[in-house]
Symmetry: C2
Subunit: 283 residues, 2 copies
Amino acid sequence: MPDLHFRQISIFGVGLLGGSLGLAVRRAGLADSVVGVGHRESTLLAAKDCGAIDRYTLSPAEGAAGADLLALATPVGLFGELLRAAAPALSPGCLITDVGSTKRAVLEAVAPLVPAGCRFVGSHPLAGSEARGIGAAHDNLYAGALVIITPTPQSDEATLARTEQFWQALGSRTRRLDAATHDRLLAQTSHLPHLIAAALVESLSPEAAPLVARGFLDTTRIASGDPAMWQDIFLTNRDELLAALDRFQAVLAEMKSALSAADSAAIRKLLDQAKQSRDGLLM
Amino acid sequence: MPDLHFRQISIFGVGLLGGSLGLAVRRAGLADSVVGVGHRESTLLAAKDCGAIDRYTLSPAEGAAGADLLALATPVGLFGELLRAAAPALSPGCLITDVGSTKRAVLEAVAPLVPAGCRFVGSHPLAGSEARGIGAAHDNLYAGALVIITPTPQSDEATLARTEQFWQALGSRTRRLDAATHDRLLAQTSHLPHLIAAALVESLSPEAAPLVARGFLDTTRIASGDPAMWQDIFLTNRDELLAALDRFQAVLAEMKSALSAADSAAIRKLLDQAKQSRDGLLM
């Protein structure tokens, strides 16, 4: 692997994902300095105190100046605005990436704003949790995680490889998927489960709430995720989420029909299939 | 608390729940002897080897003889047949309970078979996991768990109290709910989540499977549960499960409608509510 080192990594947004990125980068010694950019000084100060960044600024332009790697780690909806402010200060050769959960929208927002001489490659680390904020950040959030890298027809191989090497240096595995495929598959594996968990929690009656046990809690844990982030995800991947929801509703209707008919054999077959599929995941 | 001790506790079915019951009872010193009853000698032998029972038999009548506590821990669908075989051998004063997940069906199957001088009180420990079998049994499965005790108009207070004391001696909390209320609420907290998890797994496309991460795995973990047990549960609580499913589908339809309309405020409101409800569980 070629020597991977950055003079300055600037992280826009130092919550769970951005803060953990700073901690991991600094632990791995990947950069001479790590700069945090945000709109709330208390968060930036907390990120500095816990060792996620070396210094911070509230100004996107100031934060972008001197960076050879810029990582966007705010909610996806802010990427355009931030990059517009940062672009004039970016040096040629800067690699721009992000940690956003939907990729077509990111590409649309970011690609037109990338200055000549800079490159953008979208990344999506399948990491994180229902926790949020710099207080939940830790330096091994990305260790062992799968990071999806999203090439476009304009991507050059050297930039893609450098982006992969960056994540691999933090202990992540990487896989390339174009943005449309990413959004279609993640709608099934991540966005639909969130919608389902939220619906399950909301369908619980108040008198049933004291009786929930581990099964219900695990099944709905992700519904505690940051609503602002999930609102962004739902809106920027609406078509694919709706398609995944259609698939789910069709399966559910089949199960309901077997149950309504008290069709013991059909119920057993569905339960057997589901167990087999679930047991087969991540073997 | 009055002195709680049994001469002989007979456990019908020594899988995860029955085996863990034996281990907990023996650790707590609640009985002079613990007898296991089952239809597979290898399982009974494993239960004896791990210390869950003192001795075993394949005969329900032989296992019932001498018991002052009989615990039914097989799939619910076998309770009637087993108790019919055991009843002639039961001594007056024997307390019969169970660990079944639905309670109206248990009451219907068991109540007519309880011999004069014996008493039945249904129990449902909210414990267990997607694991199964004696290999997964452990002596603190019931510690801290909520056990629902299901009185009927025929229950006498002394028998209810003795059943509660039994579970409390194993570290469980207890709560009384009639069988119909139990089935209605558990349909929401346990049976519907299982159905939903199974449907979510089954709606995943093969190409998306390699991309699942912790969120999907947690949300669908319970779909790995024993299909035979869940088939029983679904069939014996079919009406309440269908009612819970109707509620869920209504909430899901509301979310789909907000999403279809790209109604950002409505989506945010639903996500906020779900987070608040989820955060409030088991506080």
